[in-house]
Symmetry: C2
Subunit: 226 residues, 2 copies
């Protein structure tokens, strides 16, 4: 069978934990693609055209067809390119992977943001408690080197958010004493050959989180003054 010329494009923003998820998956599968940097806080016509609903990166464009939302993109990548699967085969294990990656987005992401970026100190403290409660569930869930066992999987890729967030939080998320399994996982994850190539520098990471926080604050201010 002759190889079909494929066009794969990723609209991203350096340092975005959600873009990084997609980059890890593409790298794991060995999928060549063109990367297009979108400027945070500025909506390009391309982005508005490809993701009119959320107006956010990442967007994967495969032969002209756009897909948004990082977890939806990860599933698409796993179904469109079968090599090096990122979801397990067994339906129950797949359900668990979907459950825990959704849990990371529902329970860790919002709490993490709030724990650093909202002005009210009490609210920040409350968010930090919620984040620790969520991390405890993940700590209990981690049985092997990775969430996926000996290899990184869907949950590990989703959980990359946590290791990236550690770099910008002003408090310790995990250490040898606190969530020791997550701490070890985070190190193993960073050192995974594929992940290592993708991870941004600390400066890039800080840059992204700060720009995103400023953009959210500006949007909130605009909404409040309406």
């Amino acid at each position: 069978m002759a190889a079909i010329e494929e066009e794969v494009q990723l609209l991203g923003a350096v340092g975005s934990p959600f873009v990084i998820r997609v980059q890890i998956a593409l790298k794991l599968k060995g999928i060549e693609h063109k990367y297009v940097e979108e400027k945070l806080g500025y909506l390009s016509e391309t982005l508005l055209n490809y993701n009119p609903v959320y107006k956010m990166v990442p967007v994967l464009v495969h032969n002209g067809k756009p897909i948004s939302e990082s977890r939806v993109i990860l599933e698409y990548i796993d179904e469109a390119w079968k090599q090096n699967p990122i979801l397990p085969n067994d339906p129950y294990q797949r359900a668990l992977d979907r459950f825990w990656s959704k849990f990371i987005d529902d329970k860790c992401v919002a709490a993490a943001w709030k724990s650093v970026f909202i002005p009210d100190e009490k609210e920040r403290e409350k968010a930090r408690e919620e984040l620790f409660e969520a991390l405890q569930f993940l700590e209990n869930e981690l049985k092997d080197k990775f969430f996926g066992g000996e290899e990184i999987s869907f949950v590990d890729i989703a959980a990359s958010f946590i290791t990236l967030f550690q770099d910008v939080a002003e408090f310790l998320l995990f250490s040898g004493d606190k969530f020791p399994k997550l701490h070890k996982w985070s190190q193993e994850f960073y050192n995974h050959p594929v992940v290592k190539e993708i991870m941004p520098t600390k400066e890039q990471q800080h840059g992204f989180f700060k720009a995103r926080a400023a953009s959210i604050a500006a949007a909130n201010k605009a909404a409040a003054s309406k």
Copy 2:
């Protein structure tokens, strides 16, 4: 091949739009199961044991193994029982189905709740606007009899929330003039032979939403007085 005795149990609450999603999927696939009613606002040991993370219905228990979160359960059902698929075959179409069902949960469910159940009138009005904005996206997306074409699919099952919510909202979500395609879809959906058998009575529907609102209000009050 001899049939393997399977044990399928569904922990639910009458009138819950998320439980109804699972019931529609089980009925579409013809999966016999035992239904266990959980009392809203009361956490049974069974529920805490099977869903310690969210402590909510629906929970599907298949041969002793629990799965939570309605969209995760729907995917599991579709993978564990292959007959009458609820997700399409094509990876891109599957991605779209996942995107739009997630959109319903992200953009319609919270806005719908707020538009009826939060005390502040201005906030209710704002939520109503957000809900209408989201419904406009769905209206534009609806091309055929159902989101799935001639047959109901993943998005239709997720969107059942909207038709159920119409019964408790104090304002018109859709009509012949307003979101006419969603209006027609809602009628077709209600009249689908499988859906018809599952849908609760208006009284059951009202009962659930009222009890849920009271339970959320009580939780908020408790959190505020902490």
